[in-house]
Each structure stands twice: as C-alpha cells, then as structure tokens.
C-alpha cells in the first residue's frame, strides 16, 4: 500500500500528456529523454550542489551542538534537546514565513543591525541564495544533530579514557577514537538532511523568491503549472534514482571503510 503512490508516479512517467493536459496511455520514454535536456541537467547539478553545501553547513553547525549536548548532563541536556525540537511544534509553512519576516529588509535582524548602526543599508538576505541556505539550515539541523548525538551517547566513555591513557592528546582522542566510532552517525545524519533537501521546493520558493529553483520546483511546476504530470513524474523518477544511488554509495562506503586492517601496509 505504501508503495502505491510511488508506483502510480512510476507508471505515469512512461505515459504522455495530450495537448489538452490530460494523460494518454501511450507507453514511451520521451519524458526521460526530455529530462536530459541541458536546462534540467543544469538544475539537477545545481540542486545537488546546493544540497551538498547546505548539508556541509548543517554539519559544521550541528556537530558541535550534538557534541555539547552529548557531553552535558542532567537538566542542561534536557533543556538543549527541548530547545532543539520546540520549533517543530509549529507548522512548517509558518516557520518559513517566520523566517521571511525575520530576514526581510524590514525584518528583525536588519532592524537591530541598523539600529546599532552596524550596517548602513539593510542586508540582502531574503530572496537570495543565502536566504535559501539559512532556511535549509534552520529546518534540517535537528535531523542531523539527533543521529550524531545518539552515536556519541552510545560511545563508551572508557574508549576516550583509553585513548588518553595510551598517549593521545585531546585532539588525537577526538580524531582517532571519537570520530571513527561515530562516523556512521555522521553519515546517517548527513543523509537525513541531504536526501530531503534534493526534493525541497518550499524553502527555495519562499526564501529564494523562486530565483533559486531546485529540481523540486521544476517538478512542482510541471505538475501544477504546466499540467504535465507525466513529465513531472519522470523528474520525480530521476530524483528517486539519485536517492537510491546515494544510499548505495553510503552502503558500500560504510562496509569497506568501517574497519581498518593492521600490519605494515596499514
């Protein structure tokens, strides 16, 4: 049952749109051929690139958050986790509109900065790529923090002590003991944010002012503007293949790299 919508999309991607906007049951692969046109490939690579940058940003911001959450104790930890998740008690669209009013030329951030004369003209954040990144960061951060946090929680504290005991400095313990043992968590967290980012369309639309089109935006416009459901489905199909490839790479990577053999050649 859960696969049914996906199957419908899959089947539709091999059908055709009639000039009237209805669907004709004429099996062909023209939609897929069309999706390889320059304009769509360009958007595809731009989407991957933006999602990678945004994932990296999430990692840079999220890792220290997860690390400090895992190392804090008692009520500090509880408070941290609550603060991380409170935004999710409000509707997604509302949160994005909240960001719009925060980042705009007359938004809170610009008003404060102007008031203290730190800037002379309002910062252009809204409807730029920076706005999109901030939106993605704000929205996806917890999904990256949680897997890393739980990997750190599960890490036996005596491993750290053993590393320290055997002559490693704090940084060496971090690099040679902590990171290798939580890299699964780091990877899973990154995928948790990277994959949905690829299909993102609301954030680029509202915070990027539709100037920064993601593949998701093209897809949505095919469905609801162009009324070309078969082509929209083909783009969705391409996206799914991309996601499967990502998962496959992750799988291969964690299997081959999960363990280091010893010896002279190590």
């Amino acid at each position: 049952m859960t696969f049914l919508p996906f199957l419908i999309i899959l089947v539709m991607s091999f059908l055709e749109r009639t000039p009237l906007g209805t669907i004709s049951f004429h099996l062909n692969i023209n939609n897929y051929l069309r999706s390889f046109e320059y304009i769509y490939i360009k958007v595809l690579f731009k989407t991957i690139w933006l999602a990678l940058i945004a994932t990296l940003t999430c990692l840079i911001v999220g890792f220290p958050v997860a690390y400090h959450l895992a190392r804090s104790r008692g009520w500090m930890k509880q408070l941290g986790l609550i603060l991380l998740f409170i935004p999710f008690w409000t509707n997604f669209i509302l949160r994005i509109y909240g960001l719009v009013s925060l980042l705009g030329n007359h938004g809170l951030i610009n008003q404060v900065l102007l008031h203290f004369e730190l800037i002379k003209t309002p910062l252009e954040i809204l409807y730029t790529r920076t706005g999109v990144y901030l939106g993605l960061l704000y929205n996806y951060l917890p999904f990256l923090v949680v897997p890393i946090f739980s990997a750190l929680e599960k890490l036996d504290p005596s491993l750290r002590e053993a590393g320290f005991d055997l002559g490693a400095s704090r940084f060496q313990v971090f690099r040679r003991v902590v990171i290798p043992n939580i890299k699964e968590g780091i990877f899973v967290g990154s995928l948790f944010v990277f994959i949905p980012m690829l299909g993102e369309y609301v954030i680029p639309d509202l915070l990027g002012g539709a100037k920064e089109a993601f593949l998701g935006n093209i897809m949505v416009s095919q469905f609801f503007v162009m009324q070309d459901w078969p082509f929209g489905s083909a783009i969705a199909g391409m996206l799914s293949i991309l996601l499967l490839m990502t998962l496959w790479i992750q799988n291969r990577w964690s299997r081959s790299n999960g363990f280091k053999k010893g010896g002279l050649d190590a």
């Binding site: 036996d156 491993l159 005991d165 002559g167 003991v177």
Partner: protein, 362 residues
C-alpha cells in the same frame, strides 16, 4: 621507590566535604604486584583513577621515580590502565589496537610490526592479529587489553578489576597468567579487586580499604595471619569471634573472660584494651570427641551442619547462641572417626593461633 602516594585524598564536593578517599600514604615498590582490595565503594577505584590521571586529587602528591606526576594528564604519564571492560577500540583490528600507542609516538613501521607481534606473543594471541574486536572472546579481549597496555613498556600497569568480567574457570586461569606476566615483564602492577582470594593469590603486597580509608597494608600472609582491624580479619577469609574482657595478668599470658568461658591469651607486645575480640580462623580450630585435660581452650558444642568438600570438611558448630565454623583437612583416606550432625563435641585451638584485636567500642 617508583610509585609514591603522599597524603592523597579526594572529596565528593569541591568545597572539600565528604571524603571519597581519606588522605592516603602508600609506597609501591618497583616490580611489585600490588592489590587494592575492598568492597565496592571503598575508594580503591578512586586511587587507581587518581594514579592514572583520570581524576585530580583534592590534596596530596603522586610521584613516579621521584618525578611529581600529580597534575600531569594521563597521556603524559608513563603508565597504562587495563580497563574493567577492556575498552578496546571497535574501529581497529586487534593489531591496530595494540599498535595504537606506538603509532602516536610515530615509531617506525617495521619496529611497530616487531613490537606488536612480540606483545601479542607475550599474551599468546598472535593468531588473532587481523580479527575485529567483536570476533574475539572475553578472555581474548583481556589479553588484547594487556598487550595494548604493555607494548610501549610503561613503568606501571594499572588494572581495574581485570578479571571480574570473565567466567569463573577462566578467571582462575588468568590469575596465574597475570602473576607470571608480572614477573616476566618486571613491571609494577597495581590491581584493584574486590575478590579476596584473587588478592591473596596475586599480590606481593596488598592494601585493604573500607569507606575511603586504607586499613592495612602488608603481604597476603601478614594480612591473613595478623590483621590489625576486625574488618580486615572478616574481609579476608572467614572468622569466628569471641568477645570478652581481659582479666588476670600472668608473666606471659592473660586470661579472657567471655560468655563462652575463660580462655588463655598469649602476650604479643601489642597494647590491649580491656574489651577484646578473640578471632579464630576456621582452619585453626580442632574438633574433639572427648574432653581432654591437656587442652587449655575448650568450648562445648554440637554439630549442626557439615559439608564435605573433598579436600576438607566444613562443620558448623552450635555453642549456646553462637555458630562456629571449623574446617578440617581430610588427612587420611579413610578417617576412622566419623562425626555426624547432632554429635556433641569440644572445640579447641592453640593459644598462639588466636588473633587478638581491641574491641572497636573500647
């Protein structure tokens, strides 16, 4: 004197209230197998963690070979810990686990190979070098942890209840190996344990601890034969206790008057208070069928339980409201004398076998 603890203490709170470890003075000799023995919560692990550098003492100093290491971080101390749950690195092979400290020191690859193999050979697990840590048994993990700690030749090895996670049979086997290993590598071993048998078997000297205090330090024999504290006597081996008052004063002996009768006590030079605990080890007591005029210390009782254990038989003897434990060695294959539950017997002991301690309330 390689390892010296002077006035070493640790409190729970930062303001110095509530001692987890009361000020401790201890010298551990080079090449010695030293055990810290006590029940859980006695502060023995605290001592080990302070020596290892994982905690900072509230007061006192730790010196290793005349060098003050009290405030050095663990990675700057020339000693290694074998952790209770081994703490092997799951992302590294057995070989790489052992090579960890050498790689940090940037030792040449060929030398790493040689020294790791040597360390693995020392604990007899050469063939496991390419295994993962989840592909080996508990006993093997123990050996890897030992090899990892020994490979860069520290001066002191700290062992935190290293055998407690093993099953009993393996534990006995590893005890012997651990002792042999200590003599072979000639390092100082400091081990924490709550198992008195383990401590007796392994230590050259040991410290018995309770409630953050060190009660007695000495060889296993001295601790067993001459405990200076009732807790030490009770914790190491089994005891029968008779409480009484000191009366009379002969040239070489006292008399002890108790609810069970009057007994002879040999003077041993220690000052004794009026109220005395007479402590008798079960194996130092004898059972007599008949009252003997030659025996000085006699208590009449009846056997209420006996357990045959092959090399010895353990009797429980009821005397008034007290129960005495007596262990008798089966010295001859067919013992003529057969004692049964319910038999009336006499308990006796040699005067010099009794341990005398001042009653804690006096």
């Amino acid at each position: 004197m390689p390892l010296d603890l002077t006035g070493l203490s640790k409190t729970y709170a930062k303001d110095g209230s509530g001692f987890r470890l009361f000020p401790l003075d201890l010298t551990i000799e080079k090449g010695e197998f030293f055990c810290l023995l006590g029940p859980s919560g006695c502060g023995k692990t605290t001592v080990l963690r302070l020596i290892g550098g994982f905690e900072t003492p509230t007061s006192g100093t730790i010196t290793l070979n005349q060098e003050n290491i009290t405030h050095l971080p663990p990675n700057k101390r020339n000693l290694h810990t074998v952790f209770q749950r081994y703490a092997l690195f799951p992302h590294l092979s057995i070989f790489e686990n052992v090579a960890f400290s050498l790689r940090l020191k940037k030792v040449a690859k060929a030398e790493i190979e040689e020294r790791v193999v040597q360390a693995l050979r020392l604990v007899q697990i050469e063939d496991l070098r390419d295994r993962r840590t989840d592909q080996i048994s508990g006993g093997q993990s123990q050996r890897v942890a030992l090899a990892r700690a020994l490979v860069d030749r520290p001066e002191v090895l700290l062992l935190d209840e290293p055998l407690s996670a093993l099953d009993p049979e393996l534990r006995i086997k590893m005890r012997e190996e651990l002792k042999a290993l200590c003599k072979k590598v000639g390092l100082t071993f400091v081990m924490v344990t709550h198992d008195q048998e383990e401590a007796l078997q392994l230590s050259d000297r040991m410290a018995v601890m309770r409630d953050g205090q060190c009660l007695q330090v000495g060889t296993p024999k001295a601790i067993y034969e001459d405990p200076i504290d009732p807790f030490v006597a009770r914790f190491i081996g089994q005891v029968n206790e008779i409480t009484g008052d000191l009366i009379g004063d002969g040239p070489e002996t006292y008399a002890l008057q108790s609810a069970l009768g009057t007994f002879k006590i040999k003077k041993n030079g220690h000052p004794l208070s009026k109220s005395i605990n007479l402590i008798l080890r079960p194996e130092k007591m004898r059972l007599l069928r008949q009252r003997s005029q030659l025996q000085e210390n006699l208590i009449e009782g009846s056997i209420c339980d006996l357990t045959y254990l092959g090399s010895r038989t353990e009797y429980s003897v009821k005397v008034k409201d007290k129960t005495f434990k007596v262990f008798e060695q089966e010295l001859e294959r067919l013992k003529k004398r057969k004692l049964n539950v319910g038999d009336n017997i006499y308990l006796t002991w040699r005067t010099e076998d009794a341990i005398l301690l001042n009653h804690p309330n006096s």
